[in-house]
Amino acid sequence: MRRFIIAVTLALIPVGAFAQQPAIQVENAWSRGAAAGGTGVVYLTVTDSGAPDRLTGAASPVAASAALHESINDNGIRKMRPVASLPVESGKTLKLSPGGYHIMLEGLKQALTAGQSFPVTLSFEKAGPIVATVSVRQGGAHTMDHGHMDMHGMMDMR
């Protein structure tokens, strides 16, 4: 019996080794309040401790469609263009944040209100689908990423 237990324990070790954290981590997924029928947004960060990958798309039950976009500042003219995919590099963080890359939610099926959460499924070329929970935030937390951090009580720094 003891040999059986030892054998099973030894057999489980490689399984335990594989049951580690997935290489791709999606964090800090957040959104803003928006009206039903309107357009919403999702920002988040993706870190990859494994092999390089690509973020190829998104979907959410709260919207008719979700797609990767980039805000571009073309000599003062603000443009928004779809992005086919975004690279996720080993050991690096991919940021979707105000003024830059973001997920555009079109045809919102419900209003998004502060304090709410909803799921978004991200599609990765190698890692496959990963679901993240998006928090709808109240007003003035984040500004355009121009290297300036303003710290004050209202900001939710996570």
Binding site: R32, A34, G38, T39, I77, M80, P98, H148, D150, H152
Partner: protein, 201 residues
């Protein structure tokens, strides 16, 4: 390509880049220098628009307070909400001064941004924010008066398949309706509040 032809291309490209840089820099300086009486270039002026309840609002109805005007559209997922969130934050940070400042959102997308849509949109940022829309002619006129760049960018075959490319500036207008200065829209609420404090002191 021959050596002469490729040199011509290089000169043309260099010239184009120079023009773009000058236009970009000049554009902002041009707006900044547009105070009435200096070179005859004006920003702002009379307008007739509609508020979120469909009521007519003219520029004169908004005289008496400083205006912080932003042009955008409600189907904009990123730039417009980010800016208006910062404006709402700025209003909170202005404390007592906030009563003298009226933030205004004017849409450059009259097709989709009906009064009801605009009303819901602005309410999600701040109860202080007034949202204005209008007929295509009314919007074209006010955008022209404020020298706002706006252009539809088609994204699909449907009538509503478009985003809008647009300039993104906060216009600070005086209580008499005259343009004071542009305020950088890519700032935090505190930075915008500080700029407004300085310009209205």
């Amino acid at each position: 390509m021959t050596v002469a032809a490729s040199r011509n291309v290089l000169i043309a490209v260099a010239g184009l880049l120079l023009a773009v840089v000058l236009l970009g820099a000049g554009g902002f300086l041009w707006l900044g220098g547009g105070v009435g009486g200096r070179g005859g270039l004006t920003i702002g002026g009379p307008f007739t628009l509609q508020d979120g309840d469909g009521r007519t609002v003219t520029d004169r109805d908004l005289h008496g307070k400083y205006l912080l005007v932003y042009f955008g559209y409600t189907f904009c997922p990123d730039v417009c909400p980010t800016t208006l969130t910062a404006v709402a934050d700025a209003m909170d940070k202005l404390d007592g001064k906030a009563d003298q400042v009226q933030p205004v959102f004017i849409t450059v997308d009259p097709q989709r941004d009906t009064p009801a849509v605009v009303k819901q949109f602005t309410a999600s940022f701040s109860p202080r924010l007034i949202g204005l829309t209008g007929t295509p002619d009314q919007i074209a006129a006010v955008a022209r008066a404020y020298r706002v760049y706006h252009a539809e960018h088609r994204t699909g075959p449907g009538p509503n398949d478009y985003s809008i490319d647009h300039s993104s500036i906060l216009y600070l207008m005086g209580p008499d309706g005259r343009f004071i200065a542009p305020v950088n829209a890519d700032q935090s609420g505190e930075e915008i509040a500080e700029a407004v404090r300085k310009l209205t002191s």
